[in-house]
Symmetry: C2
Subunit: 213 residues, 2 copies
DNA sequence: AGTAAAATTGACCTGTTGGTAAATATTACA
DNA sequence: TGTAATATTTACCAACAGGTCAATTTTACT
């Protein structure tokens, strides 16, 4: 015990807490932009307003920082799916799920990009988390399957439906540059968000066919 | 002219052509997985079965390789959108667009990931290409808008519709690890693809509402 | 076969990167 | 106020990265 690392001790100091938060905040910026290998500790330390050795006093390795980010990310990220209520109205439930995912993409784009980066690289650091994810998705897919069997919504493949919801919503975080480049620049983020929400609702509920109502 | 670099000379040798192809092939692997900053020349050279200096004999810098990949990528990538025919049947045109994009995701996942990596990092190296992209998208969005005005398809925001098509199809390339982890492992790529195609058609055309036909 | 151009390599250089060691400064708390 | 634990910094290291150079081998062509 010659070197009682801050992160290891039981009680966390005020300074410790503050600095760890600053580091994680900065690391989220850098990792989400450059990916794990593309990010450097120097960059993160700099963004956190801190010297590199000082940063390494709080997190022993680059991996350690990344791990914490990924872990906390996944928790929040899956909350909307967890809340899908089997007893609610199917279309309303799905619409609210879509909306909540879209809000996450709007409010936490860096988290989305961090996750996307990890996926692009083949998810080398989150194999076990993917297993938990599968369990949750399978569970909710069963819920959707039941809805379909009960004749409450159109037949479709529940897993792929979930993929489509993920894809369309996260797109606004992950491909934000592209979205902004293509939409007129004067479009505010609020406008983009509400247009996206309206379009997704239209698509997922009614599709593109002329409705005969 | 003391050093007539291979890539600069008019006539391309057999060896030159072969090696450039091998390098680009290897670079696509590495860049698409690790992103620009995460990829190293050593990795690429190694994957191409070639020494680093030899690789640098064909491409002067890491950027040069990346640039070629991005340029050729964008061309092929946008072909399906270019072919959207204003005089065709709207829903059939869009369905065939979706299918072609899905085929691209299946057959050229690395290209998709390369592009995704660039987007995640804020598209630092493809600003001007994004402008061309905007022009094309605006043009096709106008086509869709006309279809809507003609009462041939349901009202929606054409730009966001295109985003949704991109998102859902590319998802199968970019998030392949996740998709595979969540679907049962025994599912073949053909099965995944056909399930995805069917689901997307259902979604984009009919939506999830119970159809009354 | 001879030769000039093209291709390849090993050795090297410079800057960067993840991480360490030891010394110093600061804080919390009795 | 003293002091032990905590926090921070300076100086450093070894490995790696992008890229160059000069020398050597291979190829294409007469």
């Amino acid at each position: 015990m010659t070197k009682p690392r801050a992160a290891e001790t039981r009680k966390r100091t005020r300074i410790q807490k503050e600095n760890e938060d600053r580091i994680l905040e900065a690391a989220l910026d850098i990792f989400s932009t450059f990916g794990f290998r593309g990010a450097t500790i120097d960059q993160i330390a700099n963004a956190a307003g801190m010297s590199k050795p000082n940063l390494l006093y709080y997190f022993r390795t680059k991996e350690a920082i990344h791990q914490v980010l990924i872990d906390t990310l996944l928790d929040n990220w899956l909350d909307p799916l967890r809340e899908l209520n089997p007893d609610g109205d199917p279309l309303a439930e799905l619409q609210s799920y879509i909306r909540r995912k879209l809000e996450l993409a709007r409010d936490y784009p860096r988290e989305s990009r961090l996750f996307a980066n990890e996926m692009l690289q083949g998810a080398p650091r989150i194999q076990e988390e993917l297993r938990d994810l599968k369990a949750l998705v399978d569970e909710k897919a069963a819920v959707i399957e039941q809805w379909i069997k009960d004749g409450k919504m159109a037949r479709c493949n529940p897993h792929h439906l979930i993929f489509s919801i993920w894809a369309t919503t996260q797109h606004y975080a992950d491909f934000d540059v592209q979205v902004c480049a293509i939409l007129a620049e004067e479009e505010s983020i609020e406008r983009r968000f509400s247009d996206a929400a309206k379009t997704l609702e239209q698509l997922f509920v009614h599709g593109l066919k002329i409705s005969t109502k």
